[in-house]
Symmetry: none
Subunit: 195 residues, 4 copies
């Protein structure tokens, strides 16, 4: 609700956010209790409402925050890539690494679809935006076929990465196997047909 004016306040607010990430990462939104968040943050229930309007407010803030953080990581990871393929590979690996460190991201973002659709759309729209620009540049440089529709390609790639993260990182709690990554890269380079 209001931003803290003192260091103590800032610490409390952050503690609440951290606790919320952990709670929303392990319990579905409707079952996630404010009580549990404040318990983990080590503050009284009422303290929650000093800093957040309500349950959805802290949830939405979390979605925005994780989105920014992830986008930052991807930008860093792909900054100096010599070509689109390298960029794609580095981006994929960076994404999977981030997911390993923040498995809650997934649960939080997919729930946003039902809890705060706007935040959810914003999350994906911002990724799409960056992606589109990159693909168009690559097309201009002749690194990507002019036959592909940038919008569709961005969409397809995001779907692939998303699903891979879910399949291995979340469901099996392990790194995506190298051969799976190679398969994706193969798909990008040659399609799936025989060499």
């Amino acid at each position: 609700m209001s931003m803290p004016a003192t260091a103590r306040g800032r610490a409390t607010r952050q503690a609440l956010l951290d606790a919320a990430e952990s709670v929303f990462g392990s319990t579905r939104y409707a079952k996630a209790a404010i009580t549990e968040i404040t318990r983990r943050a080590g503050v009284a229930q009422g303290t929650f409402y000093v800093y957040f309007e309500n349950k959805q407010a802290i949830f939405s803030e979390l979605v925005h925050h994780m989105g920014s953080e992830l986008r930052h990581e991807l930008t860093e990871a792909t900054r100096d890539a010599p070509d689109r393929f390298t960029m794609e590979e580095r981006g994929l690996r960076a994404f999977l690494a981030y997911l390993r460190q923040h498995p809650s991201l997934y649960m939080i973002v997919s729930q946003a679809e039902f809890v705060d659709e706007e935040a959810y759309r914003a999350y994906y729209d911002k990724f799409t935006e960056g992606y589109l620009a990159g693909i168009k540049k690559a097309q201009a440089r002749g690194e990507v076929s002019a036959d592909v529709d940038p919008e569709a390609l961005a969409c397809a790639l995001m779907g692939i990465y998303d699903f891979m993260g879910m399949r291995w990182v979340l469901w099996e709690d392990r790194d995506v196997p190298e051969e799976a990554i190679q398969t994706v890269l193969h798909l990008l380079r040659h399609g799936i047909g025989p060499a």
Copy 2:
């Protein structure tokens, strides 16, 4: 709870299922009220418990049912395909067509992840299974490169289709544009590199 013995009972049960599809398709699980389901089905609240153990039971049944139905559609659509690429194209189109008719499918399935994880996994596992078998056969026939990991490919393709359905059918409530479908087919055939 119990299966109906009379025609009247069967009709009531079906009315409840139809109502549930519509409710769960437009309201998130926790907010979807039994009251609303019975209201739309035109029966009294108590009647619900004559046919279903509880809220989750009807939800899970819905997930299973829609999964079977969709798999059936896909099998039909791809039965006589001459090769893997054609099969893939027909499958994709059939999936998108089904989604257009049952937009609730999406909301229901993605929520299953939080409501009944088992049903959710089963849903995807069954698809994956069929996919894997098909890919391996295609590899044996030399239609798909031996370099690709079937598991990873199945995963990637499902991710693509999933995301495309979400992007256009759900978010924009329209058919996936033909150029987007062509882009995916291009990706499968040649990767994304220049011709």
Copy 3:
């Protein structure tokens, strides 16, 4: 919220209304707890919401109900009065009698001003309406001076009765002394000047 369909339901709803009258008659709105109403009605807390949307809904219904009841009493009491003065006297006495039987009326109506202003206005507007009509007829018959403004007179009389009820019935929990009533009648007949 919904009207009961069975006798049992009707009884429960009425029990809640009766309990509410007693609670709102002795506790100010904000402090009046739903718990207390259901406790006195002998039902579970949740039952309240089967019949009423929320706290204000039952309160407003109470205001409307008591207003109707009181207006009915007044109409009956003054029906056959031979002239305006008699009518006024009978009306005053009937009002005070009703107040003695329903001391909660007062507390409830005066709170309505803050809780549901619309209901409050409606309460007084309906009384004013009836009053105005009566006064105009009396003027036409020559029983009331043409010099008085009907609106202002209605207002003044209601103020008098209101305050008297408060002063004796509520504050001192006793009947208004006969000499007080006579004083009011004297005021109506001769003003307050010396005979």
Copy 4:
């Protein structure tokens, strides 16, 4: 809690009182938030408790204060009246004028009935007292009929003025129309019968 020792303290205290008048004048007691009072006064929440024991304390002080102020106005306005009727007229006009300037008075005083009954009674008792004395003197001088009960008359007059203020000043936010005032004066002089 404590009276201020410095000029700065006095200013803060007064700012709180002013803010409280505005808040209690527009929001019912239970909903009136200390936060809102301090916000309007431009001080921190905690500052409130430097000067007032609690919420009710500032409210009661407001009731007392407004009562004194109003009584003072009335005394001034009626000081040199040649007779009871003139006095009554001047008092009525002065009361209505005060109400126009302090519309919050009304809301505050009527709520006092539920919030601090003692303050409420005191408010009216003090008015009644003055009134009684005045009426008795007028009776002794022969200006008011010996047939009227002073207590009842005081009560009736207060009721009239009260209701008129509510009817026009508060509900319609305008001056009481002159004909309404004349009607009251007519009632006092001749009763309501025909001339």
